[in-house]
Structures are given as structure tokens and as C-alpha cells.
């Protein structure tokens, strides 16, 4: 089996086919020979199996081999030809109609037998007797039985387990198939066995009868010829026709012997050779023909004689001349009595016909049985199968119609149907429930799709104008640039970004209200759309990316076209806009940056367009600028910074550095001042003195201030969380913060967000802030102080505020400006001022912090003047938060001071 498994499918199939062919041949050899050359053979079953498994071509090859061998070696008669024709005919039709092998084979045998019978009739119309019919009947039976065997094999034997036929799908047998097989097998199987056994018995009986009759006849003849003269004997020797005639008369005088034919053989020509015997017969009986002698018994005297097999001989069976022979000594001769088997022919075939009748009766009864079973059970099962196939689908599609279940008079079947009905009703309920749920789900899914769509619109479109928003713009630009890069043939006018900022929009908004502002924006977006309408859709893209900022992406247009568009926009937006009866005049500043000439990436191209737009605005508005035209003039630093500040918060470019504050008496680090730094992507670290005033000008100080406050508080919380006991963080504030936002709210909010105690926070304000907007600032400071937050006055001494003015201010400490500190103790004037400030401060309960402490002399002088805390490069410059913690860990106690 191991070796077998290793063989390829081709080899396996060849071995399998070879085995079947061999079995077919064996079937021919080991067939059961009935009298009259009727054969019961299973050979064609194997050939039909080959046909079923391997197809027509291989089957016909096997059939030719088997039948040719049979024809050549065993039987040169009709059967091998019929056998070959069987496979040929059945095979041809089976190719087209692979349905019923048994039916095809049965039809073949019926037609073949009719054809043969017709031929027999044609040859000898009068001789066509019961024998021909019964032999055909047997062929038919054997044919059906064999085809059934083949069908049974291919249906039930899992041959593909040892031989995997590609693409063969074994369909389980149907009930009716099973019934048919069972019925045929149960009728034909026993019939064939009975046929074989009974015909064997029958042959023996005939043989014994013939033997007895022959012996009687021989004895009778001998008795009757006892009176013969010498001349009689001589004439007999000379085979005298007359003498033999007398002999025949003697025989025929006895009625029992009339069926015999008498022959005489010379004593010396006694049947020495079984094959060739001189055979002398009276009258016109066979003379000297070749004999095929069949010995039946041990006695050499009695045997069955058959004419030798000849080549294909339709119509005339050699059994027509077959006879039982008895050889007996007779006056020195052999008298040979032959009893033609024809004598028994009718008897034999009547026997066959009787069997055939019984078979037919059985067939009829089984047919009725199958019919009834089919009617009662199979039809029910088939209907049940039909109805229950795709049952859920039927129940779903025809909710309101009931399924027609078959009924039956048989109890079990009826119960089965009832069960099915119950089951289907349950199923129907389930399906109905499921359907409701499904509908609900479907509706929700629809809603979800809709909201997804809406979300998409919201995400990608500006609600007010309906134009794409910044997100969409970024996406679009990115894709466009990627695509252009991929194209690989970038020319100078591949793409351009046109940034449009409205002039005087703020005034309109402030004076006419937000509603008018919205109407204006809608009107602007319409005008922009109108300008671009004449260009193909794939070459233009317009979006609103900020309050009054619009952007247009132009693809594959030359500079002149771009210029025309810019001019059209400017001129269109110059025209007054009707805002519900009021005319508003606005203008537009347009900046244009081209890809790839002005930048090779998305960020730069937008930034450059922005710069060009600023330049345009800077030159009075209502015009446009190409980045290419301004980049060589040099962009002013302030403009660049201001532009950068806009992005810095978004891009998270701000950082906080911390400068430690040291307690003069303990030497411990008591806190730190948070100092902002701008880590510019191009210019590196920018100090606050370079951008704070710019931020205040642009109003950006508000968000920046808020960010600093929040970040500083968050940092304290982190430190505390990490176990560092830094008591206080100081944050610088701008007057604008107090003027434009509610600082109390902000502080309160930040404190609650971060969860630090208010005393940990110290706000630093300048003298000028109190001077400029005293009431507003002081009011807020009071409330802030009430929260518990400390307030320090930064750069004290630099302004012109009198010390007395400090009284009543919600301040907790003073920070002496570094200009007083850095040259003490040499500058005595400064020493005196510092001393006065400290004394006064202490008098009204304020702490004093010295800033800009850079030398040990400064430290000692200040210590002598009873200053509370120090801050300055002597101790440490402002540090990043990591470094600050390092410092805090190492030098949290300044021992020189102790």
C-alpha cells in the first residue's frame, strides 16, 4: 500500500484499469456454460465499471482486448461481438447522457436481441422457436444484472480512496437508486444462480435419460439382428445402403427409438482420435465431419457430440446438430446411436421459459412493491426534500403564505411531516423576529451612512460657504504635489497656491456685526467661484482656510493665466458688496507661490504664499504679489517673526526655561521663574525680548500668555508628583492679558486644571502695568491674590513708582531690577537704594528678591542688606526643565550662603 500511495494518479489508474480488464477476461474464462452455448458471465460488469470510471475511450480499449481474446481463444461466435457492441453502443450514449447505465444497457440488449431474433427469422422463418427467445431472454437478464453490478460498484464502492480521480464528486446514492439496485439484485441474483444450478441438474438428467435410452436402443438392435446371415453382415461391412436401411428399420420398429440415428463405424476406425473420426451414417446423416467430442461420463462409449466451433455463425447454432452418442460393438463394427439433442430442446427451453415466467412474475411483484414504496414513501420523502430545500429562503420570501407540506397515510411519515411543520413554524417566527431586527438595523445603517456623509462634509467643507476647508485643502494639495512629482515632468508652472486675505473685513465684522460678516464671506466665495468657473474643474481648487482667508490651488496653468485670475479676483472683490441693504467695501491682498519654483514641499509653498500675501498687504492691499518677486528683496525680520508666531503655538514651538530662586538665609532653592523661549524651526532659539512685544502688537500675547501660565503650572504639578519640593513658580504677565481677558477666570481655571495650590504660583507684573490701567489691573490682582496666588512686582526700581504707592497693592514681593544689583557693593548709591527698598518692603510685609545676581560680591552685599532671595547667573542661568531638575538635585542647598 505504501508503494501504491507513491504512484502517480496515472499509474494508479492504469493499474486499476488493468485489474478490471483482467477481471473482465477472467469473467469470460470462468463463465457458467449452460446448454446450447448460453453463457452466464460477469465480464461485461467490469467493462461497464471501466466505462463509468475511466470513460468511453479506455472502456472501448478494454472491451476490444477482452472480446478479441475471447474470440480468438475461446468463442468464435456471436457473443464476443455482442459484448464489444455492448460497450460501444452503451459507451456512445453514456457519453451524452450520463444518467442511467442500467437503462441504457437494458435497451441495448433488448435491441440487440430483437436484431438477432430478426436475423434468425430471416434465416429460417419457421424455425424461430421458443429456444431463440429464451436464450435472448437470458442474455437480456445477464446484461441487466451486469450493468446493475457496475452501477452498484460505482455507486457504493469508494474506489477513489485508493485511486483519486480528479474532479470526481461522489454524490450519495438516492433512495430510488438504492431501491432499484436492491430489487434487481434480489430478483436477478437468485435467478441467475437458480438458472445455473437448475440447468446443470437439467443437463445431467437429460444426459442420464439419453444414456439409458441409447443403451436400450442398442440392446434392442442387437437382439433384432441376431438372425442376420453372413451376407447381411458382409453388406453391413460394405456399408450397404440397404443393409443400413434394414438396420434403421429395425431400430425404428420400436417407437422408443424413432429419434435415434444409427451409424456404423469400422472396428478399426473406432474413435481413436477425438477430433477426426470417420463417421458413417445411414441416410443423409453427417459423414466424416470434424467432431468436437465432449465426454460426459467415465464411459468412453457414451458422450455428447458437438460440431466443431466455427467462425461467426449467426443464425445457426452448432447445437442444432449436437447429439448424444453411444458406441456399441456390433458384429465387429461400432454401431453408433446418436440421439439429437433437439429431442430435448423443447423440454430444455420450456424449462427456461418456466423460469422466465417465474422471473417475470417476481419482476412484476417487485415492480408493484417498488411502485407502492415509491408512491407511499419515496414520493413523500422526495416531496419533503423538495419542500424543505431552501426552507428558510421560502419562509423569508413568502411570510404570509404557508408552505405546502406533504401528507402521508403512514404513521411515521405523517409524524415526520408534523415535526417539519412545527419546526418550520418556529423557524418562521424566528425569521420574522430577525426580519424586524434586520429592518431596524438597515434603517440605522442608512442613518449612519448619512451622518458619515455629513461628517465627511463637515470635516472637509466649510459650513458657511460650502467651500472645502483647510483640512480638505491640505489633503488636496498634498495629493496634487505627490501626483506632480510622480509625473516626473515638472515644469515651472505645474501648480500654484494663491492665498487671499480680505482687507477691512475686521471693520465690517466689528461695525455691521457677525451676520453681515458671514454674508460677506458667502458673497466673496461666490465671486471667487465665478472667477474660476471658466477654468476646467481639475485645474482649480478653492477653499476657505480661516476667518477671512481663502486659498486657490491652480494646476497646470501658466503665469499669465495665474496673473489674470489674481487680477480678476482683486477687481471683483473691489466692487461693493450688498449686505442686506448696506454696501460694504472691501479689498483683497493676494500672495502667490508656485511649485516647484518657489518651494518643493507643501509647507514651504503655503508659507511662501503667506509671505507674498503679507507683502501684498504691506504694500497697501488690493493687489497681488508673487513670492518670486519678493523673495529677492529680503523679507523683513519682524514680518517673518510675526508670520512665524502665528504658527508657533500651533506647531508647539514654544518652550519654558526655569531660572532658580535661592533663599538667602537657608541657601535652599525655593522656586523658579518660568521664562519663555521660541524654538524657531529655521532661526533656532529666539529670546522673549525679540518676540514678546511683537506678540503684544499682534494680540498673540493672549494665547501665548495663557499657554505659559498653563505650562508652568503643569510643570509644578509634575515636579511635585516626582517628589521635588519646588515651592513656587513665577510667571510673567502682560498688561494685555489683564485688559483683554479675565485673568482671574484664567488663573482659576488653570489652577483647577492642574490641581496645584495657589501659593505655588506667583504672577509677576511690572510697575508700568499698574501705572497704565491701575483700576482694571489692581481689581483683578486683588481677586487673584484672594485666591492665594502670590503677586510680585518685576523689575522694581526701574520705573518711577513711589514706594508709597505700593501700599494697598495686593503684592507679596518685589523683584529688584538687575540694574541696581549687578554693580554692588561698589556702587554705593545703588546699595543705599537697595537698602531703602528692602527696609521699606519689609516694613509693609513684602519679600524682596534680587535679580541679576552675578558675583559673590553681589551676594554678600545683598545678604548684608537683608535681601530675602537671590536670582541670577551667579547661581544658574535659566535651564530647560530636565537640566533644572538636575540642578535642583545637586544644588538644592546653596552652602556658601549658610
Amino acid at each position: 500500500m505504501g508503494i501504491f500511495n507513491k504512484l502517480s494518479n496515472l499509474h494508479k489508474s492504469l493499474i486499476f484499469m488493468g485489474a478490471l480488464t483482467f477481471l473482465a477476461l477472467l469473467g469470460k474464462i470462468l463463465c457458467v456454460n449452460l446448454i446450447f452455448d448460453i453463457k452466464l458471465t460477469l465480464s461485461s460488469a467490469f467493462l461497464l465499471i471501466i466505462l463509468k470510471i475511466f470513460g468511453f475511450k479506455r472502456a472501448i480499449i478494454a472491451a476490444i482486448i477482452v472480446n478479441a481474446l475471447e474470440f480468438y481463444f475461446f468463442d468464435r461466435g456471436v457473443l464476443p461481438i455482442m459484448g464489444l457492441l455492448e460497450i460501444l453502443t452503451v459507451g456512445v450514449f453514456y457519453k451524452f447522457k450520463q444518467k442511467n447505465l442500467i437503462l441504457l444497457d437494458t435497451l441495448y440488449w433488448i435491441l440487440a436481441c430483437i436484431a438477432l431474433a430478426g436475423y434468425y427469422m430471416f434465416l429460417s422463418p419457421t424455425n424461430m422457436g421458443i429456444e431463440a427467445l429464451s436464450s435472448f431472454f437470458i442474455y437480456l437478464i445477464v446484461g441487466i444484472f451486469n450493468s446493475m453490478l457496475a452501477d452498484v460498484f460505482s455507486t457504493y464502492v469508494p474506489y477513489e480512496r485508493i485511486y483519486f480521480v480528479d474532479g470526481v464528486f461522489r454524490r450519495p446514492p438516492t433512495l430510488i437508486q438504492f431501491m432499484v439496485h436492491l430489487s434487481i439484485a434480489s430478483i436477478l441474483g437468485p435467478f441467475m444462480i437458480y438458472l445455473a444450478v437448475s440447468s446443470w441438474n437439467f443437463e445431467r438428467n437429460i444426459e442420464n435419460d439419453a444414456k439409458a435410452k441409447s443403451h436400450d436402443a442398442a440392446q434392442y438392435i442387437i437382439n433384432q439382428t441376431k438372425t442376420w446371415t453372413r451376407e447381411n453382415i458382409r453388406d453391413l461391412k460394405l456399408k450397404s445402403v440397404l443393409q443400413l436401411g434394414y438396420l434403421a428399420e429395425i431400430t425404428q420398429n420400436d417407437a422408443r427409438n424413432t429419434n435415434f440415428k444409427i451409424s456404423l463405424a469400422d472396428a478399426n476406425s473406432k474413435f481413436k482420435d477425438n477430433n477426426k473420426v470417420e463417421h458413417y451414417v445411414n441416410n443423409n446423416y453427417i459423414m466424416g465431419e470434424k467432431l468436437d467430442r465432449v465426454n460426459l461420463s467415465n464411459s468412453n462409449e457414451f458422450y455428447l457430440w458437438l460440431p466443431e466451433k466455427t467462425y461467426i455463425n449467426f443464425g445457426e447454432s452448432r447445437w442444432n446438430n449436437a447429439a448424444y452418442f453411444l458406441e456399441s460393438d456390433f458384429y465387429g463394427f461400432e454401431i453408433i446411436l446418436s440421439l439429437p439433442i433437439e429431442f430435448y430442446r423443447n423440454e430444455i427451453f420450456n424449462n427456461y421459459m418456466m423460469q422466465a415466467k417465474i422471473l417475470m412474475l417476481f419482476t412484476f411483484l417487485v415492480g408493484v412493491f417498488i411502485f407502492v414504496i415509491n408512491k407511499v414513501v419515496l414520493k413523500f420523502v422526495s416531496k419533503l426534500l423538495q419542500v424543505s430545500t431552501g426552507l428558510p429562503e421560502k419562509l423569508r420570501n413568502h411570510q404570509d403564505q404557508s408552505v405546502l407540506w406533504p401528507g402521508s397515510n403512514v404513521f411515521e411519515l405523517n409524524e415526520l411531516a408534523v415535526n417539519f411543520i412545527a419546526m418550520s413554524e418556529d423557524l418562521r417566527g424566528l425569521i420574522s423576529e430577525y426580519k424586524t431586527m434586520y429592518d431596524k438595523l438597515e434603517r440605522k445603517t442608512l442613518l449612519l451612512v448619512e451622518s458619515e456623509q455629513k461628517l465627511h462634509e463637515l470635516a472637509y467643507y466649510d459650513v458657511l460657504t460650502g467651500l472645502p476647508n483647510r483640512f480638505y485643502f491640505t489633503d488636496y494639495l498634498k495629493n496634487l504635489l505627490d501626483e506632480i512629482m510622480k509625473r516626473n515632468n515638472i515644469d515651472s508652472s505645474s501648480a500654484a497656491v494663491m492665498l487671499i486675505d480680505l482687507d477691512r473685513f475686521k471693520q465690517v465684522n466689528d461695525t455691521l456685526g457677525h451676520l453681515a460678516g458671514d454674508l460677506l464671506l458667502k458673497a466673496v466665495s461666490e465671486r471667487l467661484n465665478n472667477v474660476l468657473l471658466k477654468y476646467p474643474r481639475n485645474k482649480r481648487f478653492i477653499a476657505r482656510i480661516g476667518g477671512d482667508e481663502f486659498v486657490i490651488i491652480l494646476n497646470d496653468l501658466n503665469n499669465i493665466e495665474i496673473m489674470q485670475i489674481a487680477q480678476s479676483i482683486i477687481s471683483d472683490l473691489k466692487s461693493p458688496v450688498d449686505l442686506e441693504g448696506q454696501e460694504a467695501y472691501i479689498g483683497a491682498s493676494v500672495g502667490i507661490s508656485a511649485f516647484p519654483d518657489d518651494a518643493d514641499n507643501m509647507v514651504d509653498i503655503v508659507k511662501n504664499a503667506d509671505l507674498a500675501m503679507y507683502a501684498s498687504k504691506g504694500s497697501g492691499g488690493n493687489n497681488f504679489k508673487f513670492y518670486s518677486s519678493i523673495k529677492n528683496l529680503g523679507i523683513p525680520n519682524k514680518m517673518k517673526l510675526e508670520h512665524g508666531l502665528h504658527k508657533a503655538l500651533e506647531n508647539n514651538e514654544f518652550l519654558l526655561y526655569y531660572q532658580p530662586k535661592i533663599n538667602a538665609k537657608t541657601g535652599l532653592v525655593t522656586g523658579a521663574e518660568a521664562l519663555i523661549r521660541w524654538k524657531h524651526p529655521e532661526d533656532g532659539m529666539i529670546m522673549p525680548d525679540q518676540f514678546i512685544s511683537l506678540a503684544e502688537e499682534s494680540g498673540l500675547i493672549i494665547p501665548i500668555g495663557e499657554w505659559v501660565l498653563r505650562r508652568a503650572c503643569q510643570q509644578v504639578r509634575e515636579w511635585k508628583k516626582n517628589g521635588h519640593s519646588i515651592d513656587q513658580i513665577s510667571v510673567n504677565c502682560s498688561i494685555l492679558q489683564f485688559q483683554q481677558v479675565d485673568m482671574v477666570d484664567l488663573v482659576n481655571k488653570v489652577l483647577s486644571e492642574t490641581g496645584i495650590t495657589p501659593s505655588n504660583l506667583e504672577l509677576e507684573i511690572t510697575e508700568s502695568m499698574i501705572m497704565k490701567d491701575s483700576d482694571r489691573v489692581v481689581g483683578q490682582l486683588l481677586r487673584i491674590r484672594n485666591l492665594g496666588v502670590n503677586v510680585a512686582i518685576d523689575d522694581f526700581g526701574k520705573g518711577y513708582s513711589s514706594l508709597s504707592a505700593l501700599r494697598g497693592l495686593p503684592v507679596t514681593s518685589l523683584k529688584i531690577d538687575k540694574s541696581f544689583v549687578n554693580n554692588i557693593p561698589e556702587d554705593k548709591h545703588n546699595v543705599a537704594v537697595i537698602e531703602a527698598i528692602i527696609k521699606l518692603a519689609h516694613n509693609i510685609g513684602l519679600d524682596v528678591v534680587a535679580e541679576g545676581v552675578e558675583t559673590i560680591e553681589n551676594v554678600n552685599a545683598l545678604k548684608a542688606l537683608d535681601c530675602d532671595e537671590f536670582q541670577g547667573y551667579f547661581f544658574e542661568r535659566p535651564l530647560s526643565q530636565d537640566m533644572f531638575i538636575e540642578f535642583f538635585k545637586e544644588k538644592h542647598k546653596w552652602l556658601e550662603l549658610v
Binding site: 461391412k237 450397404s240 436401411g245
Partner: protein
């Protein structure tokens, strides 16, 4: 030399009158039986061959004509070590010799070549397996037999025609020899053709008989002569087992016989007896009916009548043979090929002889070109066949005819008599004929 041989052969054939004699007159005679037996006994060395073991290098020919002895020297010279042995055999008038021959055949010791001397004896061999079939190898005689007219070869084949049992030599036709001078003298046609035509009618023939009787001259020996002339030597049944002696002409012959009896028109003296031969010599016999060898017999018996005789056809429209020889080879022969060579030689010479003498004139017959007449008559002999019981049938026939013509059936109608005879034959031979009919595969008219 040639003429000498011819003459010799013709002379040899003269022995055959004995046949005619015995068959026409005294066939069933006891004397004849004893006579034939005595002949057999006399030639015991020849007839009892079975007792002499055959020399394996000897080819035996049973029953021969003296002329054949001439072949011996040439044959033995051509086949050194082989001897030809001619065994003279008496004429087998009774069939006894044939019976002995059959014994030898049954023993497998029959002579190699057998000369069949009487055509009816062929019936004995016809239905047994004793003679070689000359159609078969090594003989292959079909080509030879095809050259011979069917009416000459029919009796040498088996009745069914399937086997050729012997090669026939040229048969003798039966003719009417008449005294031309006597016919002329009494006013009857004397020219052979005219007379031949004249005697076709039985009445004319009777007229001659009546007229000559007045002058003590006879034209027949026995009363039954008309039937003998009409149908002798041609068997009783044809090859389909039909009785051939039941025709109107037979009835007519029966009537004629009755007339002859009534008017005593026959001489009642056989010519094969000296008494009879004297009537020829004396000129009291004006017509004799013999085989064509007859002129030499007449010349021998009455040489002084030479030139007065003429030959013509038989009366009553009859044609039949009178004189037959056929050569058969026995089945048990060990020298079949050599035997066949000899048979063929004899046959060829025989045929040639008759061709050579065809135009010869006969001095005895007054210069008549008799051979031409014989050949013509020979060609008109009908086909005929024989059964194994031909002799018994002949006996029965003669008895019946005698009975009728003489006494018992005097009142009977001739046609009824013919029917009665046929029935008598069926009664006696029906069983045997039935067997033969079955064998031949012909309609069986007999009770089997």
C-alpha cells in the same frame, strides 16, 4: 496391323451374345443358375482369389478381354517390379461371382481392377462402399467422364451421380439385322432406312411376321420379344425411383405379345442354340435383334448368307444397349494410381478404335456403312439406372409378363396389367425402394 486388332477386338466381343441370350430367354432357369455356378467352380483359381494372398507388387484385373493381354508387356516395362495379372472370369449371369467379389471387398482383399461385364451388375456396387470413387484423387476422372455422353456413363456413376464407380467403355447399340432379300421377295421395304421406319409401328411389324409365317420364315424367336426389344437392359426405376415400365407403349407391347401368342408368330427357337442357328443358316430367320457385334455372330453361324443381311434400327421406337464393359478400381486397391493408369489406357484405346472404324463398310452387310448406324443408335440410347436387386426384378418382370401374355390375365386390359405389374413391384420391393429413396433424398413412393 490396325485392322487385325480391330477384327480381334470385335471377335472378342462376340462372347457377349451369351448375355443377351440368357437375359431374354432363360434367366430364371434353374439350369442357368447351376450353369453359372459350374462356371465358377470350373475357374476356381480365378474366382476364389480371396484365398490366394495377393502379391503386393501385383495389379490384378478381374474379368478381361483377351486383347488387353497386349498391355502387359508395355506396362510392366514402364513399371519395373510391377506385374499385371489378368484373371479370366466367367460371365456372371447369376450374380454369384459378384457375390463372391463382394465377400472379398468386405474382407478388404478385392482385385485392383474389376471389369464390370453387365450393366445391371452395377446395381450391386451402386449402394455399397466397395469401389473407389474415381471423381476423387488420385483419379480425378471428372474431365474424362465429361467427354462421354451422359447416356453412356449414367450407369457407372452412383444413382445420385455423386460418385463415379467405373469408367465405361463404348457400349454396343442393339440393332435389327434383317434379310434384305427376303424382305424384297415378300414385298416389304428392303432398304434399311425404309424398313426401319416401317417397323416402328407394331402392326407393320406383325404384318411382316404374319406374312413370313406363311412361308415358315420368322422374325422373332419368342413371344415376349417385343418387350425384350423395347425395354431390355435399361433397368426398372430411374434415378428418382420412378417405375419406368408403366407406359402406354409397354401396354402396347403387352398387346403385341398377346397377338404373337395367339397367332403363334414366334419361332420359339433361340438363336444361341444350334437349332436356332440352323434357322439362320436355312434362311428361315429373317430378323434378329442383337448388339452391334451381331454381324460377326451371323457371319460365324451362316457365312453363306454374307451380303444378304442388312442392319437397321430397332422396331417400336426402341433404343437400347446390348453389350457393356466398364472398368472399376476397388477401394481396397494398394495400387490405385497404377491401376488408374492402366484403366485410362484401355479406355483411351477403346474410344480411339470406334473413331477409327466409323466409316468402314461391312461386307457381310452387303457393303452397308453399319458403324455409322451403330454410332447413331448408340447416341439415342436413353439414360438408365440400376438397383442392387436388378436380377430379382428381372425375374419378377419376366414372370409377370409371361403370366399375362400366356394365360392368367387373358381377360385383362393391357393398361390395367401395366398398373398391376407396377403394384406388384411395389409390393415386392417397396421396402427396399423406400430405403433407397430416403438415401437418394427423393420422394418416397413406397411403404417403408
Amino acid at each position: 496391323m490396325k485392322r487385325i486388332i480391330i477384327k480381334y477386338v470385335i471377335a472378342m466381343l462376340a462372347i457377349l451374345p451369351l448375355v443377351s441370350c440368357s437375359l431374354t430367354g432363360s434367366y430364371s432357369d434353374d439350369d442357368n443358375n447351376s450353369k453359372s455356378e459350374s462356371i465358377g467352380d470350373k475357374k476356381s483359381e480365378a474366382t476364389d482369389i480371396s484365398k490366394n494372398k495377393q502379391d503386393p507388387n501385383e495389379i490384378t484385373i478381374w474379368g478381361y478381354q483377351q486383347g488387353w493381354e497386349n498391355y502387359k508387356a508395355d506396362f510392366e516395362k514402364a513399371h519395373p517390379g510391377i506385374k499385371l495379372k489378368f484373371v479370366p472370369v466367367d460371365l456372371d449371369l447369376s450374380g454369384n461371382i459378384t457375390s463372391k467379389l463382394l465377400d472379398q471387398m468386405a474382407e478388404g482383399a478385392a482385385p485392383d481392377i474389376i471389369n464390370i461385364q453387365f450393366n445391371w451388375l452395377m446395381g450391386q456396387y451402386n449402394y455399397i462402399d466397395g469401389l473407389a470413387d474415381l471423381y476423387q484423387p488420385p483419379f480425378n476422372a471428372k474431365s474424362i467422364i465429361d467427354k462421354i455422353p451422359k447416356n453412356q456413363s449414367c450407369w457407372t456413376t452412383t444413382t445420385d451421380g455423386k460418385k463415379l464407380l467405373a469408367i465405361p467403355l463404348v457400349p454396343r447399340a442393339r440393332v435389327t439385322y434383317f434379310r434384305e432379300d427376303i424382305m424384297k421377295k415378300y414385298g416389304f421395304p428392303s432398304d434399311p432406312v425404309e424398313l426401319g421406319e416401317y417397323i416402328q409401328k407394331p402392326d407393320n411389324w406383325l404384318k411382316i411376321a404374319r406374312e413370313l409365317k406363311k412361308h415358315n420364315i420368322w422374325i422373332m424367336q419368342w413371344a415376349v420379344d417385343p418387350l425384350d426389344i423395347y425395354i431390355n437392359n435399361t433397368g426398372f426405376y430411374d434415378n428418382k425411383m420412378n417405375f419406368i415400365r408403366n407406359t402406354n407403349r409397354i401396354a402396347e407391347m403387352l398387346y403385341t405379345i398377346r397377338m404373337i401368342n395367339a397367332e403363334e408368330l414366334a419361332s420359339y427357337v433361340g438363336i444361341w442354340e444350334p437349332k436356332g442357328q440352323k434357322t439362320i443358316k436355312d434362311g428361315r430367320m429373317a430378323m434378329v435383334y442383337m448388339g452391334d457385334y451381331g454381324e460377326s455372330n451371323l457371319e460365324a453361324w451362316a457365312p453363306e448368307t454374307s451380303g444378304k443381311w442388312r442392319a437397321t434400327r430397332l422396331p417400336f421406337g426402341a433404343y437400347n444397349p446390348d453389350g457393356w464393359n466398364a472398368l472399376a478400381i476397388s477401394k481396397s486397391s494398394k495400387h490405385k494410381e497404377l491401376a488408374w493408369e492402366l484403366v485410362k489406357k484401355i479406355y483411351e484405346d477403346d474410344r480411339k478404335l470406334y473413331t477409327d472404324i466409323l466409316n468402314e463398310k461391312s461386307n457381310f452387310l452387303g457393303g452397308q456403312k453399319a458403324q455409322k448406324l451403330y454410332a447413331d443408335l448408340r447416341s439415342k440410347i436413353p439414360e438408365y439406372y440400376f438397383t442392387p436387386f436388378e436380377k430379382k426384378m428381372k425375374d419378377l418382370w419376366d414372370t409377370e409378363v409371361l403370366n399375362y401374355s400366356g394365360y392368367t390375365y387373358r381377360e385383362k386390359d393391357d393398361f390395367k396389367a401395366v398398373k398391376d405389374i407396377e403394384n406388384k413391384f411395389s409390393d415386392v420391393f417397396g421396402n427396399d425402394l423406400s430405403i433407397l429413396s430416403k438415401y437418394l433424398g427423393v420422394k418416397n413412393r413406397f411403404k417403408g
